[in-house]
Symmetry: C2
Subunit: 635 residues, 2 copies
């Protein structure tokens, strides 16, 4: 059978001639998006055959220029009787658009990560030598196992789920009494959650999970070395049931709605999990802990809890500090007796994603300096404080920065336009995509870049309207709506132009206005000026990098000294990783959560005014953005 080599992972598999490339990729554990259901219409399963021959029907959908370069649709391409090498979107997809596999993985400062002295996961693995069964000593298999555990751990009570009891007889007899147990030490009890014959102490895995309203990311962690093995992300399957938390809460109220939402997000996570372990020689049962960080609504939906009271005064959710539940109870497809740790929420609109994200900041390290944390997702959350106080608030930004509700919007995956430069004279542009692939859409960082650039180049006015009085080959007018073409149809992977319309721009402006006005009101509420902030952390899933200048030009974040900013990417996922590898960090997170207070911005008298003022580029009050104003004046 011909060999298929997938780049960049260099995974090699054999596949009989005639095998569909998409199927071969799946068998090899290589993730490829197929939103159209492999019908050959969406163009998202694009891959590049860099060596060898294939039989492909991609021609009708992909532009000729792409086909010439070897790009094909994986769902419409079949292996022939010769070896091939295929370049896939794997890196970007696996890294959730945020992290590569190398050192640049960490947007978070190294000194904030757990040190080896702080290493201590919830579930630990121990090698035991269990005494062999003796006639008439009155000891059962479980008695002997308990005694072996207590010899190492002291006389704590040992607790066994039924699955473990069922496996014990065979395991104790398989390797002459040598067995590996995975234990969760709960203050008073030793909970056995897995038992294996022989020495399996080097195979010890956990996952960190970030459940966003729009995007879900799962990270596989090798606990023996506290290292990230791989990360996968995808849109939350719940997106089909509404774009923001309020519409999800509405949907949950329908007959079967809550269970439907629970199933959808579980399927998303479990699908990502399957991809993560595939071809890595890791079994799902070897994953014995998960830390899940999610906003309060997502936490409720994942646990199957009625979210109604999150929305109804006095806004009391069922859980804030979620008790431990097992993987089996939740429905996570890992070792069923694993204890699942949810990052604690603060209130109905400040959730576990924020208490996880804060671990990536100096606030968690106990700084005296005043810090601001801004998490930009479908909901925007802000936290201000230091070692003395912590105040949080929330606003609704919508899914625009994650590609939601935007015509050509997409997640930061291969083929996403992540950077754009506009020529001030002609209005033409140059663009760069993730993976240098033919463009399939535009991600958050690309949208920020193109809008900021069009604005500074004078092709977009402060209200977000394109200049249609001058001619530019990239601006197209249809009726009353104009749109800006970034990549024309013949250069795009989908056969349609990648463009951004005035309606898309308005969505982005609404989103940035929500964030900026929340920030302004929070500062007023606390009674500090922007200049009092030692550091501003910006978290979010825009793309691999947030272009700070462009974000300030847009008016998304305040126009202050650049060195005070730090972009920390998907901080919720990174914080979850920290909790996975360190119980000290879990405690730190609980402490943060317990001392944090929440303010409801919607009750603040000047909030609406602030929001309306922020609905311009960069802002109605130009003096708030001095460097942007100076740049515009130079033009």
């Amino acid at each position: 059978m011909p060999e298929i080599t997938f780049l960049p992972s260099s995974i090699v598999i054999d596949a009989p001639p005639g095998t569909e490339l998409l199927e071969a990729a799946r068998r090899a554990g290589v993730e490829i998006d197929t939103p159209c259901g492999a019908k050959g219409t969406c163009g998202r399963c694009i891959v590049r055959v860099v060596d060898g021959d294939v039989e492909s029907d991609s021609l009708g959908v992909l532009p000729n220029t792409a086909v010439v370069e070897g790009y094909v649709l994986a769902c419409k391409t079949r292996v022939q009787d010769s070896p091939i090498t295929v370049e896939t979107p794997e890196i970007a997809a696996r890294s959730g658009g945020q992290f590569g596999d190398g050192d640049e993985t960490y947007l978070v400062r190294r000194e904030l990560l757990p040190t080896k002295w702080e290493y201590g996961p919830l579930a630990v693995k121990w090698l035991l030598q269990v005494a062999s069964p003796q006639p008439e000593d009155g000891m059962s298999d479980i008695d002997r196992l308990t005694r072996a555990i207590q010899r190492q751990w002291g006389k704590l009570e040992v607790v066994y789920p039924i699955r473990i009891i069922r496996e014990t007889a065979d395991v104790l007899r398989a390797s002459e009494g040598q067995a590996t147990v995975t234990l969760v030490l709960d203050e008073w009890k030793l909970n056995v959650i897995r038992i294996e014959p022989g020495d399996q102490t080097t195979r010890h895995y956990a996952i960190a999970v970030d459940v966003g309203t729009t995007t879900v990311a799962v990270q596989l962690i090798n606990l023996t070395v506290a290292q990230i093995v791989a990360t996968q992300s995808a849109y939350n399957d719940q997106v089909a049931c509404g774009l923001d938390v309020i519409s999800r809460i509405d949907y949950a109220g329908r007959p079967g709605g809550l269970e439907g939402l629970r199933t959808r997000v579980l399927e998303t996570i479990n699908r990502l999990l399957t991809e993560l372990v595939r071809n890595r020689g890791i079994a799902l049962e070897e994953i014995t802990n998960a830390v899940v960080s999610a906003n309060t609504t997502m936490t409720h939906l994942l646990l199957g809890l009625k979210p109604d009271f999150i929305r109804l005064a006095p806004y009391t959710p069922t859980v804030l500090e979620t008790p431990y539940v097992t993987a089996d109870e939740v429905g996570l497809n890992i070792n069923p007796d694993s204890w699942i740790c949810f990052s604690p929420s603060i209130g109905s609109y400040v959730g576990g994603d924020i208490t996880a994200g804060l671990l990536c900041t100096d606030i968690a390290a106990g700084t005296d300096e005043l810090c601001l944390f801004i998490d930009i997702g479908t909901n925007g959350e802000l936290v201000i404080g230091n070692n003395d106080f912590l105040i949080s608030c929330a606003c609704s930004a919508g899914p625009a920065f994650e590609g939601g509700g935007i015509g050509c919007g997409m997640r930061a995956a291969i083929g996403a336009i992540e950077r754009v430069e506009v020529d001030a004279e002609t209005g033409a542009c140059e663009y760069w995509t993730i993976g240098n692939a033919p463009p399939r859409g535009i991600c958050g960082s690309g949208m920020i870049a193109v809008i900021a650039n069009l604005f500074t180049a004078g092709w977009l006015d402060p209200a977000g309207k394109l200049d249609t009085t001058r001619h530019s080959p990239n601006i197209e007018v249809k009726g009353k709506q104009a749109r800006y073409i970034i990549a024309p149809a013949d250069r795009s992977a989908t056969g349609e132009p990648v463009a951004i319309s005035e309606m898309d721009i308005e969505n982005i402006i609404r989103a940035k206005a929500a964030i900026f006005s929340a920030c302004a009101v929070l500062l007023k509420q606390v009674g500090v000026g922007i200049e009092d902030l030692a550091r501003i952390y910006v978290a979010g899933g825009f793309g691999r990098y947030l272009d700070l200048e462009k974000a300030i030009t847009l008016g998304l974040i305040p126009d202050i000294e650049r060195h005070r900013f730090q972009f920390i990417g998907n901080a919720s996922l990174m914080g979850s990783y920290m909790v996975v590898v360190s119980q000290d960090y879990r405690q730190r997170q609980l402490d943060l959560a317990r001392r944090m207070t929440y303010v409801d911005l919607s009750n603040y008298p000047g909030y609406m005014e602030e929001y309306m003022g922020a609905m311009f580029l960069p802002h109605t009050h130009a003096e708030l953005f001095p460097t942007v104003s100076a740049q515009l004046a130079e033009r």
Copy 2:
């Protein structure tokens, strides 16, 4: 619709004309056996129409004498358009052939039962007033619930299964914060296992379960008054997979065998449970604790544990003191988060049924006097000891005393011949059935009575052969085998004679020989004589009463002063009841189990000789049975 009144329960239901009586009984929650699958052939679903008219096809199967008295087959009888009153086998079936509903329920001495000072079930119910949700107080529903629980119980950690978390939001809002929680207090934690709106403290149920190799009994207990509501018993569905524990262990080794056995016994228990709650206005979810007593093999099979090592040297089972598991884990159809308590086993062949049964004796009350406990089931187990020492042993008796492996054998249910008197002259007999119904078969106490009577009347020799040299209308010879007809075909409910063959008699002799020789060897091993025993407790499911004289004549139990004997019936079930209502008794049981030792009789040099000696009526050594010998000499 015509009314149907079922006696003796006086349950009344309406049923349209044409309804099958069996179906009506089921709807009314009245248990009727139908081993033939309601085909009208086995005659076991016999009931008596005491008032009103029915349409019945019973004539072909039931003897005319029975039909004249109003007996019909419930599966072949239909309701007409007029009210009827039906007498059913309910009492005997419900009471497992042991206990009626009145005061005579307790074969156990009253002073051995828990007093009200010792009352304390594992799961307790508390009424709480939970604070109403407050805006921005930072407390979730679970936080408010936890605080309310801790106000009453102190600052212990409160643990919630996910099902409870899911129900909390609605329950706390249903009755202005008034809620009833069911809790299990574990040394260090408060485990919430049920939450209900309002005050539900008067509805609090548990079950005691005795799982025998042949028979399963389930007892429903009202915990608010520590009273037995009802008891149901049935053959263990596993009987189809082998009659004794060894053949069950073999069966478990087949592909799917273990799961098949687990499912069968669970289905037996769950079916009895359904019958118990039916028409009592009790929901299965209201049952929040179960105590299960079973021999070691039955415990393993119910938990889905491989039983292989029970049988293989060095005979080490997986569990002796089974950790708590939940109803959901086990598959018991009660409140899924209930903690299930298994009575502790001593070894591979002395199980939880024995540690439960011992609670019905002075041994558990800490007597200094030497006591012997004999439990006669498919396996026979014996315990000798007092406050100073406890030694147990086991032997295999087979299912004969429970009706298994006996041609006309049956459980002690309605229609079972429980008492027989034989006329020495003619060899004819008189018999009495449970419920005074037409005879359907013969139960343990009936078999003991008929064999003992035939022997003392001279119709049976010490080797178990019927005297065919003299004529008796009741003795029938077919080939080399003779049989004794107790009830002729025209008086039986089945249309077939109820008889006992020489092969049946041999089975009973084998069973009694196993028990008696075990008893003899145990006494020798301990170095005491039978006269040193202050009390001998005999437990077992023969029927409602064990006729002591007859059992001694048979050579089943030693021939000593009668006042030293006490028949305690299904002591395993009664002991389980005690543990259900009292955690003191649970502790007492664990203490008994921990200090009991086990001796393997099969290794004892003289055991086989003892067994062979006991294979005669009453015994080869007639001097061991002085009163029986004296009686025979008088003849």
